[in-house]
Symmetry: D2
Subunit: 341 residues, 4 copies
Amino acid sequence: MLYFLSDYTEGAHPQVLRHLMDVNMVSLPGYGDDPHTEAAKAKIRAACGRDDLQIWFLTGGTQTNQIAIDSMLRSYEGVIAADTGHINIHEAGAIEYSGHRVLPIPHVEGKLLAADLDRYMTEFLNDEVREHLVQPGMVYISHPTEFGTLYSKAELTALSETCRRYGLPLYMDGARLGYGLMSPATDVTLADIVALCDLFYIGGTKVGALCGEALVFTRGNMPPHFLTTVKQHGALLAKTRLVSQQFDALFTDDLYFKISRHAIDLAMELKAACLAKGYELLMDSPTNQQFVILSKEQMERLRQNVQFNLWQWLPDGRVAVRFATSWATREEDVQALIALL
Amino acid sequence: MLYFLSDYTEGAHPQVLRHLMDVNMVSLPGYGDDPHTEAAKAKIRAACGRDDLQIWFLTGGTQTNQIAIDSMLRSYEGVIAADTGHINIHEAGAIEYSGHRVLPIPHVEGKLLAADLDRYMTEFLNDEVREHLVQPGMVYISHPTEFGTLYSKAELTALSETCRRYGLPLYMDGARLGYGLMSPATDVTLADIVALCDLFYIGGTKVGALCGEALVFTRGNMPPHFLTTVKQHGALLAKTRLVSQQFDALFTDDLYFKISRHAIDLAMELKAACLAKGYELLMDSPTNQQFVILSKEQMERLRQNVQFNLWQWLPDGRVAVRFATSWATREEDVQALIALL
Amino acid sequence: MLYFLSDYTEGAHPQVLRHLMDVNMVSLPGYGDDPHTEAAKAKIRAACGRDDLQIWFLTGGTQTNQIAIDSMLRSYEGVIAADTGHINIHEAGAIEYSGHRVLPIPHVEGKLLAADLDRYMTEFLNDEVREHLVQPGMVYISHPTEFGTLYSKAELTALSETCRRYGLPLYMDGARLGYGLMSPATDVTLADIVALCDLFYIGGTKVGALCGEALVFTRGNMPPHFLTTVKQHGALLAKTRLVSQQFDALFTDDLYFKISRHAIDLAMELKAACLAKGYELLMDSPTNQQFVILSKEQMERLRQNVQFNLWQWLPDGRVAVRFATSWATREEDVQALIALL
Amino acid sequence: MLYFLSDYTEGAHPQVLRHLMDVNMVSLPGYGDDPHTEAAKAKIRAACGRDDLQIWFLTGGTQTNQIAIDSMLRSYEGVIAADTGHINIHEAGAIEYSGHRVLPIPHVEGKLLAADLDRYMTEFLNDEVREHLVQPGMVYISHPTEFGTLYSKAELTALSETCRRYGLPLYMDGARLGYGLMSPATDVTLADIVALCDLFYIGGTKVGALCGEALVFTRGNMPPHFLTTVKQHGALLAKTRLVSQQFDALFTDDLYFKISRHAIDLAMELKAACLAKGYELLMDSPTNQQFVILSKEQMERLRQNVQFNLWQWLPDGRVAVRFATSWATREEDVQALIALL
């Protein structure tokens, strides 16, 4: 069986696991107050080119989104997101659980565009009864989006400027950030993200870690008593070392970027092969998720040897499927998949 | 430096880490739907002697308490606990964050006694305006308690019977359960806990795992859509394998119990040495946490070579300190500590 | 100045206020445990033709919606509503504050149609990752809707049947219920609502009361400890008599229905006059809210003598305005308004 | 039957109800944006001697406590209160429902003393793991307390200074404020409360109104978007006039103070008579609630003709009962009660 189901089906990159083994029996204080956590933060700051970033390690994406959003919002505020945003669909109401509404705006290829945000805010501010509405308090985007698409630097800059005009912090969900940064199609760097976002997270779970996300505050804007907030949400690991040591390994010798690049190279190889064989794509994804349109028969035949994600039935009876590559995907498996297509 | 600060200062037991390495590159579906998770559950069920237990793997103690309690209570209900209970003090308001009050009852050596629960419930039910009060909806205990003490089988049986009389599910926080079960002073077995509690968790973070707790429902009483609830709380790991594979290792060849016994043996050795040297104990703990009374000078001298926890200043100017042993404590370190005392 | 701004701009119907005066100095126990509250419930039960209804008096619409929905849902559930539903827009996130998501479905003239609900639920149940989504737990509708429109008996029956097929309680927001029941265009009776809905509320604030809504449970399905829930939400009046005595007056000698009919008669008179004068309507409302399309100039001229609600600018530069009649509207004011149009 | 059960058993003072009648048919915009609401605020500001106070009208005490506390606290903060405080007992968990813990400190006759607060905060700030605790965010007191007792000006000043030293806003629950201000035993004036508290509420429900409390912010510290917060809590009346017009009447010609004085005079008459007849008091209350100790037989005999509150059984088999006078109590009823004692 070939595995292209998702980018979180294996454990951790071997170098990550090896680092955990190397420091396993070192005695360290709990809750993040240890030199390994400091080392990981220092390496992330170096990769970002900014030594003043505030960083916190958490275990998963939904948890990070919930805490980032809940800690930044006042209780009467909601978070604006593209209607396809992960927080608006696949997080089981984690934002509402923390008392806040997700304020959806129609997406364009999974993206929230500056012009649409501007229109939304203009209408909101012109609404005479806006005090009866949830107050918009921040903006959520994902990069890559849930469709594997990417903001251009121009799009991200425009969005950032619009957010600042309206006093809305801009938060980027980077569950697959490595795959976005290493795409040949992107002109957005990690430094750009630091400059344009108020907070964002660097995803580890889908990029080589057993678990873990690094939440980064770029303006000295980490809310006070953040440890208390994290604990209150049930998200404080006694052994924060588990996450920080993994990020220490991922940000040593550019491992995070190298393994992301690996996944992208294989995804591009797969895309090129699909196009060469005459397959249509649901959309032109520049990242590690490729959306290919198959006939029902093709899909069912392929299923016998390959695990993939059935994404969406099309009106004409065909079906879009998702193949995800990752840091763990092997070159020979991509070749085998191409041969089967 | 000698480390007796807590039982979560090292990584994982080597066999646990080795198992993670062995299965690292196996492709598995996410969110717990994999054979390793099933294997871990099967081994826990076998250790409990019951094949019908419902089990869920979570990452930490506060998270497990929050989800267990929030998912069992109706919104107008609160949870009864000893006033020294972890949820009433050191969890940063995680229970209140989920909308529920902790209803404290004065403790006896960290324990909640059946007679005190009975008195509380009698008063509650006799209160003419009890509909204006938070309704008691379940009972929380920890075993071992925050003071290292243990319920006797008689105490636990009486508490369980009182809970059933009032229709209150009994929940046991087993963050250090292994250390409780392996104490020479206990007459409570894992099978007793299964029989007497409605739900409990087997702690991994403090007993050999990098992270992880196994929440066990003993009456077919896992709330419906529990995955959704876990996701909503931000607690669903994409790679649930991280926790379940660790429990798989811990419950292979009785590893969980052997390493717990190791910690207990060293703790008893330390206790005996302290008593032999004429030290007083703050209380007679039968588990891996030992509370020893020192003079201020003794404490400060010891601090230069040993890390331990300053527990409580006494009215007479002396101080109670806590030495915690764990699965990771070395026999030679205990000897070195004894020599320094 | 003529007032057609809304249906809550005056105090209470004089008979309601007179009843408050008559019983003002009677000593009564608080919190609803009094004969006046029982009398009001009995009269509402009689009007509904069912002596087994459970009834609770609350002060306002948003409060009633929040408590009704929060008390019926499990914590992992959300409430389905038309995207134009009051809870989805003008309640400042009161549902999310209680931890639940509003699950919007596109409306048809403010209504949620059975076929659309069926499609939504079919897609939900076919979604392989539906456990990662908010679970649909009940259905909210308003009748009349926010646009003044009404469900036909056939529509309401179909919706009710669809709800039952999927195990979803159906809840009707009856903020303006009297105006809906007295419309000449309706074939839905109060008995129909009792038969087809699992819970609903009879609005008082907009129909003759100073404040107050009567929440009705039709299946013996009032959640246990409902007083505690109401108190927990800060919604329990010490003097519940304030609301129940008003409902006692409103349901004596059909006052509620008579004053609703009065508002409807005047609204129909206004509508007929508008149509006769050649005005277009934004939609054909059969209730006390009339939506008339004016030119910008007409609107501005009218504003000098009439208070009304600017509803919506049209793409062609014209504007839809809302005229609301109520129990308090005077025949001569409607004539004066017609003369000004 | 004589009624001394509580101070909320009748409707409204006749002058309050008359004012509601007088302005009943005036058309006013909803949600507090009307001249009557402004007039009521102006009169309260005049009574307080400060023209810069921010004032909001709400319907009940628990609602006001919940909104005042929730809107002032950050999500990781809790509210300190005497353990006998209303929010800690009889509000069904309304504070926890909003996500915050009540942090109880042992009371002295229902009061929270500055020295006890100082000790609590000193211990908190010296706790090395205080980031794992709920952060104290404000202080709640009631005046009169739940036992009818009053803070002296010295006590209130000391408490206020302690609060400011620790950066804790001081909030006073004034459900029975009028009865406290008119006690012959008090040296605390309304101006003192304005000067010493950061926010407080003037209770109407128990002092002559059908419903209603006036929440006062004394430092320009009303949180932004307060209307949105009130709406989100389900507490925004469409007809805010209902409450503001009542306060307009209560603060015209000192009505609030006159009717409070009436209740106090009768309570003092009752107390003097009890003492003269040799009854013991549970505590020496200077306000409208009198706590008298009876034998079981006396209590049962009295019950046949008088409604009162059974407060507490004493260890010796006697019982403390509460007689509450109010604005509505008649002189002849007090005489009749005295005759029966």
